[in-house]
Structure formats: structure tokens, C-alpha cells
Symmetry: C2
Subunit: 124 residues, 2 copies
DNA sequence: CCGTATCCTAAAAGATACTG
DNA sequence: CAGTATCTTTTAGGATACGG
């Protein structure tokens, strides 16, 4: 019904998206690239090409897709400077800045878990 | 080379998995079902059928797959009771319990973000 | 420089039937 | 009860070429 999803990521299913705030949150920042992009913006604005160059392996298509989606969801702010050649930069919104301490903790947890697993598995 | 990945989820790419603790962490708990399952175990042990019944929409295959993977990664503990009919229960490991406060915050953030978005988008 | 448009692949998830 | 085994579908993500 209505509009077909054209090219967005992280849909998962509507069922839990509306029921569960955690599923909802994970969808906002899930997928392969989102947090990676947000991290790069942690220290301030970056332009498209700077992001692309800092995130090894990402294609321009993916970068655009993720940025557009996050813009739509109020996670990043996109600013176009009317000049030639064009200059566009991206920055974190306020609400996503509240996420920073959370992903820091997640990162620490990841580090700890990785160490734990490594000491556990002697063999493959 | 070596062993083929048979049926596991959340592989993403090795590149960031080994470089970035955040990507690593998100992979551990990412995907459609993992956090949903872990949440249910927050209050204590549950058996397979209890989990299945509490998570609407999940198939037995998916539940098994996710549980097995999380067991392998030390996120859940599986206990088989030798009796007929069989009884198997699952519980959180210590390291994943350290994640609980983090996902609580994420949940709160999700709630807040959802409210924000709702008040923003008057139209579709 | 900052993207979009197409086409394509791989991986995650679903349906369904069956088993110790 | 607690799963496996197959098979199919869906969707996230990738390759590449082109455009304002």
C-alpha cells in the first residue's frame, strides 16, 4: 500500500519497530556502515569526500544512501554550500550526540568481549 | 580457505571486525533477533519453547540459529537436562549481563528519538 | 566534487517438513 | 520438547557507469 520502499536500509519488520524501542534504536544505527559514519563525524563536520576517504571500503553509493537515510531520520545534518565546485558537509545532530556515550560503552564492551573470546579459544 | 561458514549470521566483513571494537560489538548483538532474545533472558533462565512463545514471529530455525551462535560467542549459556521429554534452558552469561545497562540506554534513546521524529513529521 | 541510475551478488531470514 | 534439513525469498550491500 502507499509508497514502496525504494532504496532504504534496515527495514527489519514493522512489527517490532513499532512495539519495541530497542529494536527501533538498533535499526537506526544498525547495518554495516551507519555507526562507522557517525563515528567519523564525532569530532565535527566533514564533507562527502572526507567521509569517503576515511571509511575504507565504502562505495559512494552506500555512503550516499546511508547519509540520506540518516538525514531523513534526523541523525545527521547536511549542508550544501552554493559554490563551484560544490561543497557539502555533514555533521551530527543533537539527538545523535546523546548516542555517543552509549556507543563508547558498546565499544568498550566489544573490546572486552574480544579479549575474552581470544583467551578462550585456543584452537579454531 | 579452511572451513566454510555454514549457517551463521552477521558476518559483515573481516576488515572492520578486526579493526574496530564498535563494529565488532554491533555484530555480536546485531541482526533481527539477537537483542530481542537476550532481552527475554534478562529476568532469568528460559527454555526453548518459552523463548519461542515470547518472541512473536520467530521461527524455530531462526531461534536455534541465533541461540547457537550466541552460545558459541559466550553470550548465552545452554543447559541440557537429561530427561524425557528433553528440557533445555538458556541464560545470559556474565559478560552479556554487562551489556544490559547499555541496551537499556539504547532503548531510552530509541524512545526519545521516536517521539522526536513523530512530532517532526506532520505529514508522510 | 558530489552525487544518481542500473544491474547484480551474497547473506540473512522465512516456509515447511521431518526427527531423536 | 527441542530441535534439523531443505528450499525459497527478501534485502542489504557491491560494481560500475554516468550526470549536474
Amino acid at each position: 500500500m502507499g509508497k514502496k520502499k525504494e532504496n532504504s536500509t534496515n527495514s527489519i519488520n514493522a512489527q517490532y519497530l513499532t512495539e519495541c524501542d530497542l529494536t527501533y534504536a538498533v535499526c537506526k544505527i544498525g547495518g554495516r556502515w551507519k555507526l562507522l559514519i557517525l563515528c567519523k563525524l564525532e569530532d565535527g563536520k566533514l564533507r562527502f569526500s572526507e567521509l569517503r576517504d576515511r571509511i575504507s571500503g565504502i562505495t559512494e553509493r552506500m555512503l550516499t544512501l546511508q547519509l540520506r537515510e540518516m538525514e531523513k531520520e534526523g541523525l545527521v545534518k547536511r549542508t550544501v554550500h552554493a559554490q563551484v565546485p560544490p561543497r557539502v558537509d555533514y555533521e551530527l545532530t543533537e539527538i545523535v550526540q546523546e548516542l555517543i556515550p552509549i556507543w563508547k560503552q558498546l565499544e568498550k564492551w566489544g573490546h572486552k568481549h574480544r579479549k575474552m573470546i581470544q583467551s578462550t579459544e585456543v584452537d579454531d
